[in-house]
């Protein structure tokens, strides 16, 4: 006789993101070869690897920017392999970019507002927001959440680099994200800003899982519970942060390999 807890353990046990045999070729070059990764809902994982290991290509395949050469991608059980990017985003997938991709002529608030529109039915609205617009309020809340309320009405082109990185994160949090791909969120941040970033990542609601690409091991290993190590477009090792950190092969390849 099963206990209630045992029987209910199947609820929500499906994978958030399930990649099977994902391969991406650029001509003769295999950027990704037979990548199989499964991430639970709410799981936080780091993808490590040297330059050219295929980390950003992996993100581009998951978001649909690059079609796969072969393999399948499931998002919360749904096969999204052939979905266009916007359909994946509307299902709760989000991403940030290694190099900030923002709208420099718009204010901070309008950038976030646009992101909120994108994942709502109001995206085609020809009406300007009224006094009590829900999306405007959502944008306000997000701006506060990433500590940008003070520069809310400034244009993005006037922001410091660190603030732009924070805004990138705010855009990824618009709507109801279920899974987020962070591409080197700490790139170019000062130590203080890194602490703020870690605080934001660790205090995200528990149901939101993410994959973070990060070169800075201090940041990466503090905000994740599992690590995937990539090398030459393949999954090289998977495991807990401390296992990976102490793995001799990984140290050989990455941590001790020339650059720290």
């Amino acid at each position: 006789m099963d206990s209630v807890a045992q029987r209910l353990s199947v609820v929500g046990a499906g994978a958030a993101l399930e990649l099977r045999g994902v391969t991406r070729l650029f001509g003769a070059l295999a950027a990704l070869t037979d990548v199989t990764i499964t991430v639970r809902p709410g799981e936080r994982r780091a993808v490590l690897g040297s330059n050219g290991a295929g980390k950003t290509t992996l993100f581009n395949c998951i978001t649909g920017d690059f079609p796969l050469s072969s393999g399948t991608i499931r998002f919360f059980g749904e096969d999204i392999t052939y979905f266009p990017p916007h359909e994946r985003i509307r299902r709760g997938l989000r991403r940030t970019y290694q190099i900030s991709a923002l709208f420099p002529g718009l204010t901070v608030h309008d950038n976030v507002y646009l992101a909120c529109c994108g994942v709502s039915r109001g995206r085609f609205s020809p009406l300007r927001p009224g006094v009590n617009d829900a999306l405007m309020h959502a944008a306000d809340t997000l701006v506060q959440a990433v500590h940008l309320a003070a520069v809310k009405e400034q244009r993005v082109s006037e922001l410091a680099h660190g603030q732009q990185r924070q805004l990138e994160i705010a855009l990824a949090l618009a709507g109801a994200p279920r899974f987020i791909l962070f591409d080197e969120p700490a790139a170019g941040l000062s130590p203080t800003e890194r602490r703020e970033l870690i605080e934001i990542l660790t205090s995200l609601p528990a149901h939101i899982g993410y994959i973070v690409i990060e070169h800075d091991m201090d940041v990466a290993l503090r905000v994740v519970e599992s690590v995937t190590m990539m090398h030459n477009g393949r999954v090289f090792k998977e495991g807990l942060p401390r296992e990976i950190e102490s793995d001799p092969e990984v140290q050989e390849l990455y941590l001790g390999g020339g650059h720290e």
Partner: protein
Amino acid sequence: MSLLQSTQLRVEPAATGARHAFIRAWPELQNPAAWLVALILVIMPLIANGFFLIEIFATTLILGIIALSLMFLAGYGGMVSLMQLSIAGFAGYMVAVFGVSGNANISLGWPWWLATPMALALATLFGTLGGALAVRTEGIYTIMITLAIGAAFYYFTNQNWAIFNGHTGINTVATPHFWGVDWRADIAFYYVTLGVAAICYFAVQYVSRAPFGLALQGVRDNSRRMAALGFNPNAHRIAAYAFAAFIAALGGVLQVWNYRQISPGSVSVGACIDILIMAVVGGITRPIGPFIGALIFVLLRTFALDVLIKFGLDGNRFRLLIGLGFLAVVFWSSDGMVGLWERWRPRNAPSPARSNGGRHG
């Protein structure tokens, strides 16, 4: 072109509560110059005679509406469409075909209030389908494909006799008469065009800051990023073509009422390019630009002849003047007359920095 350059998107001064929301919804009502221009346009029939009212101002407003539809696509969407005049011409033809005209064998004789919505709907459909083709391409290829659609339509009207009556076109098109008013009489028609132009101008201005318009500008600047925010860039582009097609169609209906006839000459490739010239000379970052461009174009077209003859030159060379003017404006300012005006103004002018943002004639 970045969002930075198109100054539809400005930081508004802080205000509170409903007032803030009102300003956010209608920042353009804050501009005294706009009110002045609007006032002049409204009392124009007291100042100008019938010739000026129709040949200069109504014609400018009509061409301005068509150029406005191009400005919307090019300025906010980054899509230079050369088929906007074809859409307008198609709407004009449909008014003539469904309504009443001198060619009874072709015209179906519907009353204007049935024929006009039909023409608007069909022309919008035409523009949307053309747009759906054009969004598969970018940059110069968009220009080419829309030019091809425009050229194809021109040759089709020339050769099709069953609907378009070949190169003679359709003549003596009936214009609306109701409430005891002949709406094609000079003053009444001027107000009709002024009203429609104002509605189109404000619609474009308004939409540019609504989610749809903001997203369109986002798609123009970084469509991949917009897809990563959940927008479908191509759907947005096609919707923009539909919106612009409706505006162009309104201009086309007014144009056929203005001339009371339509023929392939009205939709020639040269005429398509004239619309581009108006939009570029006026400036494609503001809705007011196309109207300024149209006014310059109409003034040159009307008076260059006399001026040229006065200097002992062939009057038919007025296009030379337009061409030189076009070169000069593009050379001095990539943003047309609006750009020149912006540069000439003191730099520390208070925001929102806009030119004479009213309905201009």
